[in-house]
Symmetry: none
Subunit: 117 residues, 2 copies
Amino acid sequence: MTKDLDQVFAALADPTRRAILAMLLEDDMAVTDVAEPFEMSLVAISKHLGVLTAAGLISQEKRGRVKWCKLEPDALRDASIWMQGFGQFEPVNLEAFERFLESELPDVVEGAAPHAE
Amino acid sequence: MTKDLDQVFAALADPTRRAILAMLLEDDMAVTDVAEPFEMSLVAISKHLGVLTAAGLISQEKRGRVKWCKLEPDALRDASIWMQGFGQFEPVNLEAFERFLESELPDVVEGAAPHAE
DNA sequence: TCCTTATTTAACCTGCGGGTTAAGAGACCG
DNA sequence: CGGTCTCTTAACCCGCAGGTTAAATAAGGA
């Protein structure tokens, strides 16, 4: 649906939101913890998380008084497929990418450093 | 540069602009011809083309009084690569992922066969 | 129960994105 | 030159995106 693509791309157009996605790539996080490294109010981050949720890029589950944010990478697939319709710029060698993943998989558990973009 | 990603994703967030890109996928076009199928003014389309140009997604070359618009799919590459970091693959060591990308980047352009699915 | 932590809602400000119409600037053609 | 086609600039409108502070809601913990 074209509306979905609108939302996904619009969500990705903000550097704060991309940074949030990168953080969630490492682990699920509570709203407060997501907000911590940013120099804006918690309310603003909460709104960003709302945008990401509306776009389907993350999901939020409330446990107790804490709301956990989880990456939903499937939502990127449609956008990715749309872009690949342009063919010529095929992003990465997929075979090499898979080999890379296999070699990296054992390390998955320990968290990577914060992603300064 | 994160600014570039901002512009690229923001440009892609508009359905009119995506439609324009799809049209240009088939052939280079003059501004007037790009505008023809849309139900908005030529000025509006001209602005959209300006946004796409600023994002590097297209280039415009003036020949005579006609300005030709050409798709520049390379600009999509960075965005596509960024998205590829998420995909269906769960937590990955980001540092290693970036190292991987750097090693792969030089090869990206050549040999990029269309991704038939 | 009272206090604190976690998060959202409400109300608001400001700037920019996307559209309009009208006018201007260039390039071709008779 | 005069007219016409192509495209941009200028001025404007409107709504929404992204931020703020202050207050409300919800869930633990002492």
